[in-house]
Symmetry: C2
Subunit: 197 residues, 2 copies
Amino acid sequence: METDRERTRRPGGRSARVRAAVHQAVTDLVAERGYGNFTVGEVANRAGVADTSIYRRWGTLEALTMDVAITWLTATSPIPDTGSLEGDLRAYAANVARDVTGPDGPAVLRLVIALSTAGQDGMRARDAFLAERSSQLQTMLDRARARGEQPPDVLEVLDHILAPMYIRILFGAGPLTHDYVDTLVDRLLPLTGPAEG
Amino acid sequence: METDRERTRRPGGRSARVRAAVHQAVTDLVAERGYGNFTVGEVANRAGVADTSIYRRWGTLEALTMDVAITWLTATSPIPDTGSLEGDLRAYAANVARDVTGPDGPAVLRLVIALSTAGQDGMRARDAFLAERSSQLQTMLDRARARGEQPPDVLEVLDHILAPMYIRILFGAGPLTHDYVDTLVDRLLPLTGPAEG
């Protein structure tokens, strides 16, 4: 345990810890109750911070929730750069499989979907999550194109690599084995060879 | 409006109407508030029936919810029988696209996913939904195999036709156009030609 003096000396460290505690509280509450079934006060209580700290920093529960989802996404699925489209797709798919089956993955997925019924702010949060995921992917696919490869487009990766894994997790339809994930990539690859005509 | 005498004369008709009213109340409440945010009493109130009618008929809110999801599924996505695998897959995909974009589709999808966090009863309901969907598909694919065609397996249809459509609806990622749905089927078909070796 740290002393008050240490805390005073490291305001950045404390701020980061508060943020982490608040994020974890949101993730846990989403997993336990589902989005929409808890308040800012309950998040604050569980994270051990004051309500006002949350309102000052995030403004609304929707904005906080969006921050949680986007942070999880950027932190957990780094974009690989292996030098080939095939290598990148395999590494990316393996990363996503690991993350969505991890301790917070299903809760975050359900959170993003629950946001759709949370009015305008919720839809903005959901769209921001999707935009972030798309932007990550676009960077990887652009690099392949720059090397002279013919990558699929972002929506094809969404449809045939992310969507199957997301739905299997959400529906509880079996584990995402290494072979399964590789098969998803195999199905996408033949169509990314040299373009015809 | 019907008279009391008509009601008395058609007990089956009344029973069917109660069932439809209760189902619609559940679907509406799921769309408005999300699963977990309403009670049997609120369903009864909205459907204009007594709580006891619901408890007597369905037992629990989970059992009622499962009935709603399964009924929607069996009623809205009839299994085509066009005489060819390609025709069946195109018709099936078009049916699913129409249903999940219909007035109750997104709410039912979110319901099935929300059931995952509703404990053992909820998970049973979700699994029953998935089993029903799989069983529908298996019938269609078995017919293709009996004709000498090489159909994909059920999970491939789930992964590459249902999952992309479900995720696009859940994430609000664009409309399911006729061209889009046909492209999903096209991607699955080349792999269903004569088996090698």
